[in-house]
Symmetry: C2
Subunit: 358 residues, 2 copies
Amino acid sequence: MAKGPTVYDVAQRAGVSIATVSFTFRQPTKVRESTRELVKAAARELGYIPSANARGLAGGRTGALGVLSLDYRPAMPESDGASGSPSVDPNVDFRLFPLYIDEVQRGIEEECWRRGYAMTVAAAGSSNEAVLFDIAGRVDGLAIFSGSIGDADLRRLAERLPVVLLTGSRHDDDLSRVSVDNADGMRDLTEHLISHGLRDLQFVGSIEAADRMERFDAFRATLRAANLPVPREPLAATVAYRAMAPYLRAMTADLIARDALPEAFVCVSDEVALVVMDSLRDAGIDVPGRVAVTGFDGLVAGRLVTPRLTTVRQPMQAMGALVVQTLIERIERPNEPTVTQRLPVQLVLHESCGCPPN
Amino acid sequence: MAKGPTVYDVAQRAGVSIATVSFTFRQPTKVRESTRELVKAAARELGYIPSANARGLAGGRTGALGVLSLDYRPAMPESDGASGSPSVDPNVDFRLFPLYIDEVQRGIEEECWRRGYAMTVAAAGSSNEAVLFDIAGRVDGLAIFSGSIGDADLRRLAERLPVVLLTGSRHDDDLSRVSVDNADGMRDLTEHLISHGLRDLQFVGSIEAADRMERFDAFRATLRAANLPVPREPLAATVAYRAMAPYLRAMTADLIARDALPEAFVCVSDEVALVVMDSLRDAGIDVPGRVAVTGFDGLVAGRLVTPRLTTVRQPMQAMGALVVQTLIERIERPNEPTVTQRLPVQLVLHESCGCPPN
DNA sequence: ATGAAAGCGCTAACAA
DNA sequence: TTGTTAGCGCTTTCAT
C-alpha cells in the first residue's frame, strides 16, 4: 500500500518509456499490440492504479462532476394510521421515503459514470464555505439543487467552473438550468380536477422557490380561465420545510373543525400531499369522497398510499442525466451561452383526485 | 471560467511569493497577519479556488474517500393493498423506500465532510473494471459494501489503498470490517418470539452473505437451546435479490394454500419482512394473530406499515461514521493491523411480533 | 516571516 | 512506433 507504483515503475518493469505506458492506457492504438500487452502485464503485476490527481493536473481537468444537494433531513413525519401518535423516533432522522432529490441524484450518478466521470457529492446543509470551495476545486463542473447555497457563493462558483442549476427559473442571473414544465403540468392537473366537477380548490404549500411559484401561478390562471374562485394565496404559503408537517396537520384539523374544507387540496408537492392525506385520514375524512388531494413530483411513495396519489410526474432520472450532459457540454465548450432546458411532465391519475381505480 | 487563477496569479497580485500564498491557506500561523490579509484579499478578488489535483499531487493524497455501493435498483415491488395488481410502473425503477445502504451512506457522507474529506461514490452494479480503478485512483481510501465487487478486484484494491468492508465476516482474508452483532440481535429477537409462546418458527430469506448466515445460525442456536424444532434451512434461502419479492409472494400463497403457515416468519431483513407481511395481508391472513413476522435492519419503512414491524435495528448512521474513522486511521497509519469492529444492535419491539401497541 | 526551488505522477508535444 | 521533455498547480523543505 505504502507508495503505489507509478508510471515509472511500470515503464521500467516493461522496459519502455513512461510515455508508452501512458499511451497504452490513454491511446492504445498508438502503441504496437505486443508492447501494449507487455505494459499491461507489467501494470497488472505491479497493481498499478493511475493517480487521478496527476492525470487531472496534467490534463487540466479532474474527470469528476460534483453535486451540491440539499440536506433534507427529517422527511415528513407520517403516521402509520394505526394511531394518532407520531410513528417516528425523534432520534432517528432519516427520510421516510425517497425524495425528489434522491431520484434526480440517481440520474446524475448513472449519467456520470456512463460518460466516464466520477461523481462527488456534498450536502449543502452540512457544508460551510470551506467545503463548498473544496468541492469546487476538485470537479470540472457542478450540479446544484437551487436553494442549496446562497446567491453570492453561487455567482462565485459559476465564474470559476461550469454550473447547472436544478429547477428554479429566475431570469436575473445568467446560469444554465434544467427544469420542467411546471405550468403545463399544473394546468393539466387543475383542468382535470375541474373536469371532476370540483369548484372550490385550495392550493397548499410553500411557493418561495421559483418553480413552485410557477405551479401556483398556473393553478390560478387555470381557475381564472374557468371562471372559478381564485385563492389569493396558498395555504401554508411561507412555512419552512422542517416545520411543514406539523403545520399541515394543525391546519387540516382546524379546517375540519371550522367545517371549512375545500373540495380539493392541490398541493405544491407530493411530500405536502402525503401529509395532508394522512391528516385527513386520521380525522376520518374521506379522500377523495369528501375532499380530493393532489400532489406534484411523482414520488414512488405516492403510489404506495391509499388512495394512490394523483400527481404530476417529473422525469427525475432524465433531469439528472440532462444536467450531466449540459455540464459536460459546457466543459467541452466553455464559451457557449447558458441554456435553460425544460423537460415535459406527465399527469398521473390515480384515486386521490376522484378517478376510479384502474 | 476559462483558466482559473492559480497561486501564481494570487502571489503576483499580492506581491508575495507562491509559498506565502500556500502558507496563508495551509499554515496561516506561519504568515504575518498583515500579509495574510493581503493574500486573502487578492485571492478573493481573483476568485481563487485551489486545485485539488495539484494539492493532492503535491501532498501525496487526494483528500477524498470513496464509496462503492451496491446497485439496488428496483426495490421491493410492494402492492398498496388496495388491489392485487403491482403498484409500481415497470418503467419506474426507483427504490420504494430508503434501504440499509442509504442510511449507512448518509452516515459516511456526514462523517466525511466533518473530517474534511470529500466523498466520491460509485454504484458497483453499473461499474466495469475501468470505473472501479478510476475511483480507486482518485481517493485515499475506499468504503466497500461487501458483495459489491468480486474478491479478486477487492484484493487488488486493498493492496493499493486502505479499504474497509461494510458487513460480512469472513476470516479468510485480511481486511478491515465494520459490522454488527448479528448473532446477538437474532438471539434476542428469537428469544422474544419464544417468550410469546411461539414454537414453530421459520426463517426466511437469502443467507448467502456472511452476516446473514450469522443471523440464521443464531436463530438456529437459539431454537436449539430452547428445545424447539430447528429448520434445517431458510425459506427462499438462495433466491437472488431481484427475484426475491415475487418469489416470496408465491411462496406465501403456497404455504397458505397448503395450510402450512408457521407461527412466525423470522425474516433475514426488513425488506423481506415487508414483502412477506404485504403478501399475508393480501391473502387476508392476520399478522400477528395468525402468524408473527419479524425483520432485521430497522429501516424507517418498518415503522410505517401496519402492524409496525418488530425488528433488530442496526446503527446504520454510526456504522457509516465508523467506517470513515477507520479509513482515516488507516490512511494516517498505514501499517496498523486490520480490524473488525462490531457495533451493537437493538431489539425493536412493535406489533408484528404480537406485542401490544405501545 | 518570506522566498527559491525541487518535486508529486502524469500527459502531450515534439523528436527521433 | 517509441522516447525525451516540459509543464500542470501546489506543498514543503531549506535558505535567507
